[in-house]
């Protein structure tokens, strides 16, 4: 059995955080199984960056350098990884459940005629086999799943698993993986506004709902967010009202976020919204309706008008910064 493997995710030659999270999870499984952690990296010019993965629990890196791997495409990555994994025969393969991981994982599992547990929030071993926990029905139920064939593939919900840190260097092996025929082509990249924090990666999110009453009122959330280094999210009500773009929507038909802190302003807390932010480490609800369902889910409830409290928070933070 050739161990627990990690599929790295990189953008512009730098590893994305989900790689370290997957490596940390892999390290724990490998320690329990008594085997090694191998990380597969596809990229361009990343030879030096690969050794650093040792710090994150990786024993060995398999690296393939190719222009075709600089930017993710389904075809290049599935063709290359399919061959590398078939060769290496790992028991378990982990990757982040980022947009890349969600596009890659299913096709890779199909290529290898195996199964995949998607967007897992927990991993365990039972009789040497992976048992994964994943939310279903928008988190109303949690499923324990096993995969009957090898490799057992799992993608991990971002910001749930912790990276490990150790003093170590990984052994890097270079291979020449074939990207195969690329049927899709990225012809243009439209970047988000400079400094806009991606919701699914934000550590702190300030979010607004129907209680915000108008698009321009989101300015007060943006100001608060600026002081906290936070991203600004929105409930479906705010998006359907046209106040915020769909890409800002948190919820069952929006994004699932896992920040350390989620501040919900003027959001009632419908079950579909909770589906999107229920895994936040700390939830604050600012809503003047004491019966709003969000209060029962919040760690800290502020039953007051957000139009009074949010500016007050901003003032307090400004005072602290000035002090």
């Amino acid at each position: 059995m050739a161990g627990v493997w990690v599929i790295a995710e990189q953008r512009d030659g730098a590893f994305r955080k989900v790689t370290f999270e997957a490596a940390g999870a892999a390290r724990k499984l490998a320690d329990e199984l008594g085997c090694e952690v191998t990380c597969v990296v596809l990229g361009k010019g990343m030879q030096d960056a690969c050794a650093e993965l040792g710090k994150y629990g990786v024993d060995k890196v398999i690296y393939s350098d190719n222009d075709a791997f600089a930017e993710y495409t389904t075809d290049a990555y599935v063709n290359a990884l399919g061959a590398i994994l078939k060769d290496g025969s790992p028991q378990i393969v982990l990757m982040g459940a980022s947009t890349q991981g969600k596009d890659l994982g299913g096709r890779l599992a199909a290529r290898l005629d195996t199964g995949i547990a998607v967007d897992c929030t927990g991993l365990a071993l039972e009789d040497g086999r992976l048992k994964a926990t994943r939310p279903i029905y928008a988190g109303k139920v949690y499923a324990e799943v096993v995969i009957k064939s090898d490799p057992q593939i799992a993608s991990l919900r971002p910001n749930v698993f912790d990276p490990v840190e150790r003093e170590s260097s990984a052994e890097v092996q270079s291979v020449d993986a074939d990207p195969g025929e690329l049927k899709t082509k990225v012809v243009e990249v439209l970047k988000e506004a400079e400094g806009k924090i991606e919701l699914t990666e934000a550590q702190i999110i300030v979010s607004g709902g129907r209680g915000m009453k108008a698009a321009e009122n989101f300015k007060i959330l943006e100001e608060l967010a600026g002081l906290l280094g936070a991203a600004v999210g929105a409930s479906r009500s705010a998006v359907d009202a046209g106040w915020r773009p769909h890409s800002d929507q948190v919820g069952q038909t929006g994004k699932v976020v896992t920040p350390n802190l989620y501040i919900a302003c003027g959001i009632s807390g419908a079950i579909q919204h909770l589906a999107g932010m229920g895994s936040s480490k700390v939830i604050v609800a600012i809503n003047k309706d004491p019966d709003a369902p969000i209060h029962s889910k919040a760690d800290y409830s502020v039953v007051a008008d957000l139009f009074d409290v949010v500016p007050a928070l901003t003032e307090e933070l400004k005072k602290e910064k000035a002090a």
Binding site: D103, V141, E144
Partner: protein, 256 residues
């Protein structure tokens, strides 16, 4: 253009989900079943393409007989034909097993585009489309929020973290629809009436010569992890509330 939209019937998102007695499936009584919301974007986009380019829109599903309702909804919206692979035990199957079943039907249909919703709101997997694309050796583009068809190829906008990628692929191609792609139309009353007369084909796994092959198995279902009870922040004025909240977040929760 010939388009197939793969749809799934799922519980309405308002439904309270209860775990069944066996501890590893859901209690299917008292469920309002609907077309997966993301699939509606696929149906709508297919109809718009048909309106612009001519051709046919087929909707395809695999599951118990009740899936007929979801297919009829799509026919009422304007799809031309429905195909159901009927199997009473298929709900809750490994999506990759379902993808092999759908591929067995699709391989004889030769569509230019195969649409899926970006994921089903029951299993939240989002992998069935990939399984179909792999089985049929087709390119795939997921999370499509904008689509243009130009001379035998598609040009799609796909949002990823921090940016939107504009991606081209030749047809035939598998696309998964994300919210924002379009505004799905409601089925009109005349549409609902017409739907009853549209071709509806039923197949079984035996007809397709295929056996269900699940690699993923659910061994147990549990309610979501409980959060610890929260507390109400005290304060007479907004300023007091703000100060007390920030103090709690800093000193107690340690998140700022």
């Amino acid at each position: 253009m010939n388009i197939v939209v793969c749809i799934k019937q799922v519980p309405d998102t308002e439904t309270q989900i209860k775990i069944a007695g066996d501890g590893k499936s859901i209690d299917q009584s008292d469920i309002k079943w609907v077309m997966n919301p993301y699939d509606e974007f696929g149906v709508e986009e297919a109809l718009k393409l048909k309106e612009a380019h001519g051709g046919e829109v087929i909707v395809l599903s695999a599951g118990p007989k009740r899936c007929t309702e979801a297919l009829r909804t799509a026919l009422a919206m304007g799809a031309d034909k429905a195909i159901l692979v009927e199997d009473e035990d298929l709900y809750g199957a490994d999506p990759l097993a379902v993808s092999k079943i759908l591929a067995a039907v699709l391989k004889d249909l030769n569509p230019d585009i195969i649409f899926f919703g970006q994921r089903a709101v029951d299993d939240d997997c989002g992998i069935c489309a990939s399984g179909v694309a792999e089985a049929l050796d087709l390119p795939q583009i997921s999370l499509v929020i904008k689509l243009e068809v130009q001379d035998g190829k598609v040009v799609c906008h796909r949002p990823v973290e921090g940016q939107t990628n504009v991606i081209e692929a030749p047809m035939p191609v598998v696309l998964t629809a994300q919210k924002g792609l379009n505004e799905p139309r409601y089925a009109s009353l005349p549409g609902i009436m017409k739907a009853k007369k549209k071709p509806f084909e039923t197949k079984t796994l035996a007809d397709l010569g295929i056996e269900r092959d699940d690699k993923l198995e659910v061994t147990g279902l549990t309610p979501p992890p409980q959060r610890a009870a929260g507390k109400t922040i005290e304060g007479e004025t907004p300023q007091e509330l703000a100060a007390n909240l920030l103090k709690a977040l800093k000193e107690e929760a340690k998140v700022i």
